[in-house]
């Protein structure tokens, strides 16, 4: 399955996913390029999952996990943050902008934050894409 130009959001089923669900129910809208992958915990997302998304053509990858101290699995969001940082470093090593992979923390009842965050990612990905094209 091609993911060219998409924004892949790994959403924790305890925070990012309910927030996305609520945003949909409220009709708040989200970027057209957004592809949501529901995960049992942000800590389930490994570096290889993020890299594979880029291999398939994603322009940005986001991990949306629980707020600090509120992880359903205690340390999943902390692990996810570390993995996002590692993935960012691996991308930089091969000349790809490390800011293309980001982590956000939000609560399940924050649909507006979900929309803001995903719009922010989309804008950043577009700007990074333009920078890459100009090189």
């Amino acid at each position: 399955m091609s993911m060219k130009g998409t924004i892949v959001a790994f959403c924790c089923q305890h925070s990012g996913y309910p927030a996305a669900d609520l945003a949909g129910k409220l009709g708040l809208g989200s970027p057209e390029a957004l592809r949501i992958i529901r995960v049992p915990c942000a800590g389930r997302v490994d570096v290889i999952h993020m890299l594979r998304a880029f291999e398939k053509g994603a322009s940005a990858v986001a991990v949306l996990g629980c707020e600090e101290g509120a992880c359903h699995h205690i340390t999943g969001n902390t692990r996810a943050k570390e993995r996002v940082e590692q993935c960012s470093m691996l991308l930089k090593e091969i000349g790809i902008d490390g800011r293309r992979v980001v982590m956000f923390r939000l609560s399940p009842n924050a649909p507006r934050k979900f929309v803001d965050v995903t719009n922010e990612i989309e804008m950043a990905a577009e700007s990074q894409g333009r920078q890459d094209d100009n090189r």
Binding site: V47, L90, E93, I94, I96
Partner: protein, 219 residues
């Protein structure tokens, strides 16, 4: 166990530049434990190589595999069928594994993806420290189980050097414990401090002839 570190990606991509079909082979033993060359690292490195080639506008076909012990000929020989499809091999095993791979498949270039660094143990999550220099003349029995060959920055056989910092730290690296302070304290605990006064003859570096060879059952 044997500790290794992944080489810089630029060095790896430079070595693989002429090749289009590559087997990335990990090892499931020591290098897997030290996060340098196991199945997970094979996947990440292969993905990085594909992305790097994609960014250059060219392609690379990568086959991924992990051998349980790449230093054993029998286990490496099992890869025979896959070898016909590749131009080169990128091995994430230690030096012994890379050489085994290169010997069995001597018609293919085999490139190391890691630098084999030392024999050590995990100190904390993600950190390994050197414990043994494989000198072939072990005298841990006289030093309370602390090896001064690798744990003393100067490799002194009759220490301490006199430069020990307050708190028992090494004068060369204040983050490291002075090996001879550790030895003293260990021997003190065992009531064997008399060993500190025993002169230790210079290290016998001929104990292991290079290349080393050990035949089981022959003392």
């Amino acid at each position: 166990m044997i500790i290794a570190e992944r080489k810089p990606i630029a060095e790896i991509t430079r070595a693989l530049a002429p090749y289009k079909n590559v087997l990335v082979a990990g090892c499931g033993t020591c290098v897997a434990v030290c996060w340098a060359g196991g199945e997970k690292e094979v996947g990440v490195l292969a993905s990085q190589l594909r992305l790097a080639r994609g960014a250059e506008g060219s392609q690379i076909s990568i086959m991924e595999t992990t051998v349980e012990r790449q230093c054993e000929k029998e286990m490496v020989t099992d890869l025979k069928d896959r070898m016909a499809e590749v131009d080169a091999v990128l091995s994430l095993a230690c030096g012994a594994g890379v050489q085994t791979m290169a010997e069995i498949f001597d018609d293919k270039p085999v490139f190391p993806a890691v630098n084999t660094t030392f024999i050590g143990r995990p100190e904390r999550e993600g950190m390994w420290v050197e414990m043994c220099g494989a000198c072939g003349d072990c005298y841990l029995d006289r030093t309370g189980g602390v090896c001064p060959v690798v744990r003393c920055a100067k490799g002194l056989m009759n220490g301490p050097c006199g430069g020990t910092r307050k708190g028992g730290k090494c004068e060369i690296d204040p983050d490291k414990d002075c090996a001879w302070v550790l030895i003293y304290r260990r021997l003190e605990k065992q009531n064997r401090l008399d060993l500190m006064r025993e002169y230790c003859a210079p290290k016998n570096f001929r104990a292991v002839k290079r290349p080393g060879r050990v035949q089981a059952g022959k003392a």
